[in-house]
Point group: C2
Chain length 637, copies 2
């Protein structure tokens, strides 16, 4: 049977029918695919049936409508349920559900990704949907200022992830009453019971302590769910809401209800048949819930802030920064300057930082555009997740912290690539150059980490002018882009206005009789230039390349340099030997089929301690003296 209901007519008896349909379709789709998570879908079917018919304000024909509510499955493995919802909404056909789920070349992937127009963010790495939802809700409350709500379905297992608590902490700090987490507490994880089981009061205590309003319900009592969602959806007050639902895994099929050993397993066809029978058979109802009302942006709300009492440093101008050739400036300072200028030109630019904005210089943006700055405190996972959620709503989010601490958020960056969002990440204090603080603060793996991300762009400027240009370029760069900045100040190399295309490089020193090519980026470019000067004094002509675009890399320039200097190349990088600048050079030259290469790679091989930047660059063997020595060896001197 197929019936179509309009929103106003949907009573709870119809919702109950829909819940059964969602369960049946979850069973059918996963059995047809031979994999998937039917029982995890069945526990949440009543929650979703009530939500989609009576609370989710969503125009299924216009998924990009700014006033639409958002629905995020943080428990992405419940994709059979999500896709069954899509079928019930009439946007996915029964045929697609039965032949497309988890199949090659199809869009109904094993875990949801935004290849589907109704999916905001990819999920499947647990504990990420709620932090991402915080980002969307931040946009809704402070930037869009639209009355949409962000509904996030969470599993109970993922509540063990620290990122969930980073999300609650920030949601309450930023008073995100437009964020509603629906916690599907079905007691059973993948391999057995969860640590808290059905101890809903314990969950509630934790959530309330983190500032959420908690509405505890029987997750199979449609009336109770409906009342809780009504209350939650009013978005009154200044707290996020959790609908904490006690549910039964496999609910609706007595053979598996509340039984261990059925996580992530489709039912064999005979069991599926019995399940469908017990659930009342196949249905093909199409029901749509309420559409959002048209709305205009509301007034700008007060935003919580802990701006430094002392007021921080003076506000720079909002013009594009200009740096003198030869004048010392730290690239992290140029990042802050450039971000302010960009923010002045483009109202979609927002900035976030992990409580180190006076080191990354994101504080300059905060002081100029406090309404577009979000302090994430020391919570790097939420930092990247918030940027992800802001990107969903079209904002150009720049997130900054020490480069070393982006390692904390690598799973979120990886998932950001799968989500297809644009993330602009700025990592300061790269490498041993930082000196006295020691190895915990030294990013020495970041280039490898970021290069390995799908579709990423990795940039590493050496002076103020190039930094400013690359910050501008990041604003226009799709996907995950990463800017690596340096702690110390180094002399400007380029006049203001010089262009730095992504994928390019700069030949900063050359002659017709160069014998060797020296390649650096960031601090090692300055060392390479000093090395070239040393070599010049010894009668060795060296060309120097600024490889500011680590990915994509300028293969043509590398090939030309190799050809010009007999294949003799020295690359120096303030990074571990694997996966960074040297790898980018080697990969490009080998891919180009370059022959007769004599490539010497200088990198940080040992475990650094404290010291001055100069001492540590020398200790690591990546300073001018070592670069010159490597060049001498290559030219046979």
């Amino acid at each position: 049977m197929t019936t179509t209901h309009s929103a106003s007519a949907i009573g709870l008896d119809t919702v109950a029918e829909l819940a059964a349909q969602l369960r049946v379709d979850s069973v059918r789709s996963s059995t047809s695919a031979g994999s998937g998570h039917p029982t995890s879908s069945m526990s949440a079917a009543d929650l979703l049936a009530v939500l989609m018919t009576r609370h989710l304000r969503y125009d299924w024909d216009q998924p990009g409508l700014p006033v639409n509510d958002h629905l995020i499955f943080s428990k992405g493995h419940a994709s059979p349920l999500l896709y069954s919802v899509y079928k019930a909404a009439g946007v996915v056909s029964q045929e697609e559900l039965m032949t497309g789920y988890r199949r090659f070349g199809q869009r109904l992937e094993g875990h949801p990704t935004p290849v589907l127009p109704w999916v905001d963010v990819a999920t499947g790495s647990l504990g990420q949907g709620l932090p991402d939802g915080v980002g969307v809700a931040l946009a809704g409350r402070y930037l869009d200022r639209l009355p949409y709500r962000v509904w996030v379905l969470c599993g109970d297992s993922e509540l063990a992830e620290g990122s969930i608590w980073e999300a609650f902490d920030k949601a309450s700090y930023y008073q995100l009453s437009n964020l509603i987490a629906i916690a599907d507490v079905n007691r059973l994880g993948q391999r057995g019971p969860t640590d808290l089981g059905w101890d809903l009061p314990d969950y509630a205590r934790r959530m309330e302590a983190f500032g959420a309003r908690v509405l505890t319900v029987d997750g199979h009592d449609l009336d109770a769910i409906d009342k809780a969602m009504t209350l939650a959806g009013e978005t009154a007050g200044h707290q996020p809401t959790v609908i904490l639902a006690k549910t039964i895994k496999g609910k609706g099929f007595s053979e598996v209800e509340n039984k261990d050993g059925w996580h992530g397993k489709p039912f064999p066809p005979d069991m599926a048949e019995r399940a469908i029978a017990e659930l009342g058979g196949i249905r093909n109802n199409v029901l749509r819930g309420p559409k959002p009302e048209p709305a205009q942006p509301g007034p700008v709300p007060d935003k919580p802030t802990t701006l430094p009492v002392s007021g921080g440093r003076p506000t720079p101008g909002k013009a594009t920064p200009r740096y003198e050739v030869g004048a010392k400036v730290a690239t992290r300072k140029a990042y802050g300057d450039a971000l302010v200028a960009l923010g002045a030109r483009d109202a979609q630019v927002v900035a976030l930082d992990g409580e180190v904005s006076n080191s990354t210089f994101a504080d300059e943006f905060e002081q100029n555009f406090p309404e577009r700055y979000f302090e994430m405190f020391i919570a790097e996972q939420q930092l990247v997740a918030a940027a992800t959620g802001l990107s969903v709503r079209g904002y150009r989010a720049f997130a900054s912290t020490f480069a070393a601490f982006f390692t904390r958020a690598y799973d979120f960056i990886r998932m950001g690539a799968i989500s297809g969002v644009d993330l602009r990440l700025a990592g300061s204090h790269a490498g041993v150059e930082i000196g006295a603080d020691g190895p915990s603060q030294m990013a020495l793996e970041d280039l490898a980490m970021m290069r390995a991300v799908h579709g990423s762009t990795v940039l590493y400027p050496s002076d103020g002018t190039s930094t400013a240009a690359l910050v501008d370029a990041m604003a226009e760069t799709p996907g995950i882009s990463y800017l690596r900045t340096t702690r110390g100040g180094f002399p400007g190399l380029y006049p203001a206005g010089e262009s730095f295309p992504v994928g390019g490089s700069k030949l900063v020193r050359s002659s017709d009789d160069d014998q060797v090519t020296l390649i650096g980026a960031g601090v090692t470019l300055h060392e390479a230039l000093a090395a070239a000067e040393i070599l010049h004094g010894e009668g060795i002509a060296a060309r120097v390349i600024d490889l500011y675009s680590v990915k994509p890399v300028d293969a043509d320039a590398l090939v030309a340099a190799a050809d010009a200097t007999g294949g003799r190349i020295v690359v120096a990088e303030d990074h571990h030997p694997e996966g960074g600048l040297g790898s980018a050079v080697a990969d490009a030259l080998l891919a180009a089929g370059q022959q007769n290469l004599r490539l010497t790679r200088l990198a940080v091989s040992g475990m650094p301690g404290s010291g001055t930047g100069d001492e540590l660059l020398a200790w690591a063997g990546i300073d001018a003296s070592h670069i010159a020595a490597a060049a001498r060896t290559l030219v046979g001197r």
Copy 2:
């Protein structure tokens, strides 16, 4: 003045003098170094003065004594305070403190590392010391069964890290009454006030909700601190304790007390002079607190468990597993088998998993050795941190989860290398081979990530026999070792007992007239073998290398193969193109000065969706057919 006190004689008046000394030394050391965090040290000086004189049971002359308490500075930036404590204990001289702090080649690094014998783990990336402490406390309660306590000094800023809440969750689940967190709530972060400020009741609610006993004190009231530490140190009950201390940043120097703008800044010499004067001048007291009583391991306590209700799968034997050549076995299954055999031979071997033990096959270990298995649920940061803490106490901890989800713990892995601990990480479900689950579950960055870790070992077996051998090898491998396993079952290639040294490789197919070398590991080795068979049918002889040791890599074998096959090499990997197997090959050959290379690298360049493993290997261009095609091109066919 210099006086030496014995433990029994140390009254609170003496402790007060010590606290002033610790503050003075924190000021002096950081001013002398020109960097460091005096104000963050001064807020916690009273807490540490009471702790070291009256509660920390520690034999300073025998830091390796098993019964010693442990002291971890989770707020590693308070290193001036820690080193001042060491001076007060008489193990660091005044001269070292004044000339060694943050200097090149010295051991008093900017943030503590275990180059010092009293430091368990490196800290400085916030939110890690407490999770590491959970690992040490797990060892104390369940394995060592000794009465030592683990005292962890936490900053308030780092309480925003989700990993802190993963730690509290596991500490209460595992009833770690031997774990005492001392939270130094000084209200001020690096760039301004923290989000909760001095709202101690709010912190207490959160900690209590997560199962901790909270003792709130004025962090400058020595008597109150002493009473709280007495209570905490009794380790009665089954909860971790938090001493939640309201403190004043910069306490003791009125010019900076509770003032913003003084984070991470040493005082200029004139200010330092005034601070020292206000604090009563320089002191050189040496005081030691109580030593631990000798103790024998206590009875084995009941360990909380959520073993699957259904009992999981049958228990395998404890003998070294033997696999038949040609018989299909998944390397993840062989991991579980081998771990059981290893555990039977070596009582120091323990295992942990992130709630996917029935996928990683760590559940086999749990069923055989439940007393040496720790379920970490879905909290990968705590998973790695617990392994770190267990390693501190000499256990050989193997931690497993899906390879993709180790990205969640990259900061902890990086810090583990700085801590010098031995971590044995096993990541299952690598690459597109997993099929239907889609990209969120596919590790495609893990080899790059793990290769870039200092001193790491990266292993990637292709069959049961090699997996078993490499698991054994990991038990003897120092530093961070990583085993990448595959979801599907593939035919055994090697007879039982074959040896697989770390840094080696296997020439699995060769002839005297090979024209091209095919290199694979894991699933791509099987594809390479199939490709060689295809090519053989076309009259092209191809040799095949199993590069099971990705780092260190067998450079000699690669050079020999390149020489034997005219530089023609095809590498195929189920990983993104950057930083993985292909990079390992390219890096080694270039470093060896290999000339006339014709290297074709096949890797996963696009964004995968769902599908079967075979479909996705073909789509990615890393299956036998694509390897054969690449080889044909290289040999000009």
